[in-house]
Amino acid sequence: MKSGKFKRTTRYVKAVDDVSFYVKKGETLGIVGESGCGKSTTGNSIIRLVEPTSGEVFFNGENIASVKPKDFRPHKKNIQMIFQDPFSSLNPRMHVFDIIAEPLVTHKLYKGKELEKRVVELMEIVGLDPELLHRYPHEFSGGQRQRIGIARAIALNPELIICDEPVSALDVSIQAQVLNLLKRLQKELDLTYVFIAHGIPAVKYVSDRIAVMYMGEIVEVTTNEKLFSNTLHPYTKRLISAVPSTDPTKRTIGDSDAVADELNQEETSDQGCKFAARCPFAQDNCLVDRPKLREYAKGHYVKCHYPLKH
Amino acid sequence: SGESGEVGTDNGTENGSVSDGNLVIAQSADITTLDPQDSLSTNGERIFRNMYNRLFARNQDMEIVPEIVESYENVDDETWHFNLIEGITFHNGEELTAEDVKFSLERVMTDQGLKEYPYFTQLVEVNVLDTYTVEIVTDGPMPTLQHVLAKSGADILPKDYVEEVGMDGFVENPIGSGPYQFVSWDVDSEVVLEKFEDYYGEPGIWDMVTVRAISESSTRVGELLTGGVQLITDVTPNEWDRVNDNEGTSLVQGETTRVMLLMNRLTEGFATSDERVREAIDLAIDQQAIVDSVLRGSGVPVRSRVPEGVFGTDPDLYDTYVHDKERAKELLAEAGYEDGLEITLTAPRGRYPLDGEVAELIAVMLGEVGIEVNLELLESGTFIDVYSENENEELIMIGLADGLLDASYSLVHYTIDRAAGQTDYNNPDVDQLFQDASRNLDEESRLQQFKEIQQVVAEERPHTFLYQDKVNYGVSDSIQFEPRLDEALYFDHIQPN
């Protein structure tokens, strides 16, 4: 899998601007960032749910961002998506069977008995009771629904699955179930994931490498360990430090006086680093020169003039 | 407008006391123009008759009498001289002279765009002999000249005024020489007239007359009952009791020249081209029953289009009908329809009083003798399209009136030219009789000719006659009112009690 690079404009809103990264076969690339920073848009652009305005997406060496919508169809078999909201991602008027069978029927892969066999098989893979084949989605809990969504996504044996916040809408105790399921499936089916989330712990748990996004841009990409042990971008650091720890003996919140510090976020200029206004380490040139994503250390990319020293 | 307000809220005066010299009349539809020569409606006539003068007029008994003519002279078969009464003034104070007569008549006989134009085509020339004398030349002997001069459209307009303000200006603010002068017209609402103080004859008896247009019959009756108006037209039979039972109002019935009839298609290929079928249809229909039931007596069975009161009427064919179901069945059998016959009857709905109901009755009556009727009831506008395009099949029901009160107006329908495409009736004898009559200045023999035509028609039945329509007025006790055959209203014939 090669690197992709694209941006998108909708009604003159740049949702994602100059995003480049690559995903290797069999790995999980996590994308984290705050709400509205363009994570979904990135995912949607890969699968052409939104048409990128410029840039390219190489999939197995072929630039799939520029092919005509019609020619993109065969690729849909290879790239699939798991959605955030288990309530809205399943058609309430279709049986579970029809939902899982939809990709198989669309691509005319199975028929009749075989189709049923395959659907039952898929349900078993994701840990659903095949007895429930002819139920409607509303008869399932959130976690079960997400399993249905996963079954649908793996039905075509795709190479790449884009998971857009697959656990955000789930209860704590269910999140772990789904995360573990995704990990298991990756191993068993040799899947590649782009795992989008805003919760850092979950991303850290499933990803091999992690890309951090800020306001439509990727500001840091590296392996899981390096991101936390050797954080380079100030924003990444800020993000990590904001995550509450689950250890009551290590409290940090409320100790610092950082109350009114980040309230003027809206004031970002087109020039310079987008994080400059919030950045405690910003220098004068951060406000005028836009940094480029560069490989600061091997396999560790960062978009910052002054990466943090360790 | 303010006027209607005063009138409508005038509930204090129970049942329309008229002491204030105001008269309010409600008709079922509004006038469409104030140009008397471009209107054919009875509604318009009711107003124009009080605003304008004509050379001749009809009195209460429908006799033609001079109106602004002092004396007249039939110089030869084609030339007439009329002396005008002197001292007649228009509402703007100008005198009415021969010039005005010439101007008015020439307008209506030459301007094809006017609705009244077709009735004045026989006039050839109008000449001014002196200030008060006009000469009219016709295209040949014209027995109906006085009818035409007494008819709507023959109204005298003020030449100078019209030339000054133009016809558009005139219509906005019309001026006549009648006893009432124009005040205002709110379209679809009301026309207001007031007494013309300088009228040459007897001055008007009302200070102010408002003629309202109220299309809903129950609303119209409501206004009468509450005293909002003193006279209403077109009271449907079901409202009669309401009007009569109410203290202070009553129903007054008048006759009309309108005859309801079925036009038969004599065209080749239609069953009605067989005379026996037409007779059977006539025999199957019980005209009296229709009149008695649905119409509650508001009609007279007839066997001719020329009712009593119109010149040329045949009393033998008035107030009579034929009805014999057995004979009708026999005739149908003779004509080869013993197994039944299917025909289409086109009829209007809402154009004439109770027309739809009557058509439904007829359909049933025809059914009883074995004629199955496809009843095609049409809304007025659609109906008249079908009629004027001659798109109807065997039968079409229609009401025809006589604006001239002369049989020539009606009987022209039986001439070959006029019948072509419509009834396709073709009888050279009838044609000849009609041609003769229309140039015949001798009343006696002309009457004979008309009767003869009607006898033939009654036998050959290009039309199956139903009944002469009556018109019903609701009248407040505060006034006295006598209906007229021509359905016109002379405000001064309506007397306060």
Binding site: I174, A176, P201, V243, T246 | -
Partner: protein, 325 residues
Amino acid sequence: MNLLEVKNLHTSFYTDHGVIPALTGVSFSVKKGEVLGIVGESGCGKSVTSLSILQLLGNKGKINSGSIHFKGQDLTTFSTKKMRKVRGNEISMIFQEPLTSLNPLIRVGKQIEETVLLHKEELSKIEARNHAINMMKMVGIPQAEEKYAYYPHQLSGGMRQRIMIAIALACDPELLIADEPTTALDVTIQEQILGLMKKITRELDTSIILITHDLGVVAEMVDRVVVMYSGQVVEENEVEKFFANPKHPYSKGLIRSTPSIDQEDNLESIKGSVPTPANKPSGCPFHPRCPFAMEICKSQAPENMYYGEEEMVNCWLYKEEVKTS
């Protein structure tokens, strides 16, 4: 004396589809100046508990039994009018969704001012307005005078939540109930909001009931934890003790299935899913998901077992260890 004492609270909703027993015996207490955390999964009754305290259950919800003593007086016996004096004044509330919780058609400043005018009758309009602006400054809103005239949609999520906090604290309440105040916010904003709450309530000596399902927030913020499951309290403990040694199997599962930054090993998950009040299992409601379930759990609901004043667990496993209260 505790500031708030909830005892054996039962609350039900009477809907078109039948009676929903949302709370089936909830007891806990809040001390003056203390932050109490209530955790539990969606639908376990956290919000209903807080709404019950303020008696804002709507016309369908009803407290069936139990008592809610606030400063020694039972709120369940209060008249509507008396209750109104408590709301927003002595006990106030912050809700989860900062956008929908503010009236979109009223300027934010006015919404703060309204509370002030309601409960501080001695203040004039101008004073109330100034007070509102001061509150906005206190919750860290820059250019408060200008933002006073803003409508909610003109503010970011974090700002809106600050407004909510300003409303809640405007009348200096003794108890603040915060129902998932940061769930809808980004982590960095969450950090600010939580910090703000901590700071202000410390200054004002306000007690807090902090409702959340995020154990991280609990660990950061609270003094004591109450764990709810399916309409009842299953465990109550001091926060350090709770994380160090959770007792109830559900608490254990919850802690082990929450990923953390320091996560090294695999996550454990609790199998099955949360029951709804309508299909609540017999006996202990957690037994179908419990790895330690015993025969008795299926048929008989456990009682609250206390290890002293403040430590409680509702589980048969501890039957032998403690004496039932």
